[in-house]
Symmetry: C2
Subunit: 404 residues, 2 copies
């Protein structure tokens, strides 16, 4: 019998508790006959009458001081007190599995070091992409490939909003309201809508691929709050869609990372990823594009990923599983030098083509049904810097979207 | 230095050779600094002037009798002599990685047993889905889930043909011809077109999930050669597509497995998988649907998967990696008891609705643009047996397609 504890009985923590109890036999089989059980659940609240009551504790010391507890699941969220608790668990030689992307993005390296020092593991498969197996395949499966790009739809809330805007022609505000009403967006949606959540996740994936620390503060992040129904009309005219794409890539030895809305073409694997679904596309120099797709959030889906980590830790007690990156800082190249195509919207009509071609180089005029008084222009591939300078020379620019 | 040998220098074997040489540094890093090299390549042909010449051998004994060779890659295809060679390698304590689905579907259990007896590994990650990491995620990542269904587009040739038919309205024959001209279909396309290739692959995936041997001969297999441009017109009228779906699922403890063309709705993850791409959807009772997508064939993509197996074997020499199923036979439930919706095409017009509703139960009449003299009817969910019996009572049935 291997005993575990769950810290935080919210959406994900209660999901973990459910998975352990519902799939007891599957887990036992995958552990070669060894039973896994939850000895404690830590939460400040009471849950009178619920099964969890039997194992509920309010004092973290109960968990830390019990040598029978070999694995601790952290599903509290936020950096503190999660960091303090996880550190203590690792120092006590307990392995930890977490779904907390903030913790991993901010304190991951320290915790990986602590795990190593104490012959324990620190796994965080559920911190990116919810239930989608992505971290393990990236680290364990594509081992003969040079990973050149990771690009994903890593935030379900914004993808839900963009899908609504695309399919129903609604405004950003109306789609956000609907997402909030349906429980897909928080009251304060800033972390999702402004791309911070996706930024933390792409920082984690980039760090894993590169083996060095990519700080999420270094990643250029642009949210979706400026995307309008008119943008989608242009997308439709082109047969494309608009997605919040988080990407990290290596070009000529330089690392580029960005979170921003992008026009996505139908032939790109991310094009068909709709609603609250997440997907991560990985490009290897041999395997080409592979994509992992699934529910990026939700109680049981995320808990499934947490428990996959727990099962691996349970099978490897006393060892440190090598899912980590070094403390060495990975520089991110300035966005200005990143190369893209852009769709730029300007006031006026087709008569502006000459001016636009002069400013941006030879491109394509885009007219959209139901849009008047303005026109769009698809530029050639150029650096962000060159685009910015060119755009300054053009009058009446309304906005621009990058093209994936 | 760990030495390996490649048996068969065809499309995939030469890809493996390329991957080892191109990504030498990546592989060394993933092996913790240990170098991996190709000591021998076995092929009957000569390759004068090519780099491979230096390591080319024509006699399999050179490989088998060299104790320095720790890992053997089998990329010859077919059951013999592959089976004899792989058996010899395993008996000599060498680990084997193969891309040969025929060998795995037919002789997998024997080879897994041999590997275990000789403290070696037999891995076959490239035998299903080419470069897509699917076997390892299925076995190693979804370890806390009860897998209830695996459904995939597992054959690139048929998916290419169906995509052409869908997008260009061409006939099956014309699309097949184009696939052959472009090198996506073989001169004798039977194994692909009749679904046998997909059947072997779903037998492998089902065996892995169930831990018992599913014989591909027990799997009901229907190819795409009877699919017509008219079928696609009905699909378009419904907003759906037609895909050759290979699936294995567990319902009430019974195992169902089938390869057949299915109408697929846009909300299904397989809907957007086009051209030569493959994808495998896995449904777990906790994680819900996850999907793995990528190139199901091709020299470097498939070689990437072979080499991921080799890297894992190299890191675990002297051990048997537990990717296997038992010799115990897994019964497949008769197709007759499988439940589905059907689209049935009959001669006539809307006046046939009453007859169709009487025969099949309450359903939906489907008229398609450009189709005259016939009409289609979407049945309620019913068993294959009930459908068959009902169809016998109806005059002038033209055909039917299952709905996923």
């Amino acid at each position: 019998m291997i005993q575990m504890a769950i810290m935080g009985f919210g959406t994900i923590g209660s999901g973990v508790y459910d998975v352990v109890n519902t799939n007891r036999d599957v887990i036992r089989k995958n552990l070669g006959g060894e039973e896994l059980d939850v000895k404690y659940v830590l939460d400040l609240r009471e849950f009178p009458g619920k099964p969890v009551e039997k194992v509920l504790v309010h004092d973290v010391n109960t968990i830390m001081e019990d040598p029978e507890v070999k694995i601790v699941v952290e599903t509290m969220g936020g950096v503190e007190p999660a960091f303090t608790f996880v550190s203590r668990a690792l120092k006590a030689g307990k392995s930890v599995a977490t779904s907390n992307k903030e913790l991993v993005a901010k304190k991951g390296v320290e915790l990986m070091e602590l795990a190593k020092e104490n012959h324990a593991s620190f796994l965080f498969g559920a911190s990116v992409g919810g239930g989608i197996p992505i971290i393990r395949p990236l680290v364990r499966c594509l081992t003969a490939d040079r990973i050149e790009e990771v690009a994903g739809i890593l935030n379900g809330t914004t993808n839900y909003i963009l899908t609504k805007m695309d399919q129903e022609g609604t405004s950003f505000e109306a789609a956000l309201k609907e997402a909030q009403d349906n429980g897909f967006a928080e009251k304060n949606p800033e972390a999702d809508v402004e791309g911070y959540d996706a930024g933390r996740k792409i920082a984690i994936l980039s760090s894993l691929v590169l083996g060095k620390s990519v700080n999420f503060e270094d990643i250029y992040t642009e949210g979706i709050s400026a995307i309008t129904a008119t943008d989608f009309k242009y997308a439709r005219a082109l047969g494309w869609s608009i997605k919040l794409v988080a990407s990290g890539k290596i070009v000529d030895g330089k690392v580029y990372a960005m979170v921003a809305p992008h026009l996505v073409k139908p032939e790109h694997p991310l094009y068909a990823v709709n609603d609250v679904f997440n997907a991560v596309m990985v490009h290897g120099n041999m395997v080409d594009d592979v994509m992992f797709y699934g529910r990026g959030a939700g109680s049981h889906a995320t808990a499934s990923a947490v428990m996959a980590d727990v099962v691996e830790e349970a099978a490897n007690l006393g060892k440190t599983l090598p899912v980590s990156w070094s403390a060495e800082h990975q520089e991110v190249a300035p966005v200005a030098s990143s190369e893209k195509q852009f769709l730029v919207r300007v006031k006026g009509g087709a008569e502006r083509e000459t001016v636009l071609a002069q400013a941006f180089g030879e491109g394509q005029l885009v007219q959209a049904e139901g849009v008047t008084g303005e026109i769009a222009y698809l530029t050639p591939v150029m650096t962000e810097e060159a685009f910015g300078k060119a755009a300054e020379t053009v009058e009446d620019v309304i906005g621009r979207i990058r093209v994936k």
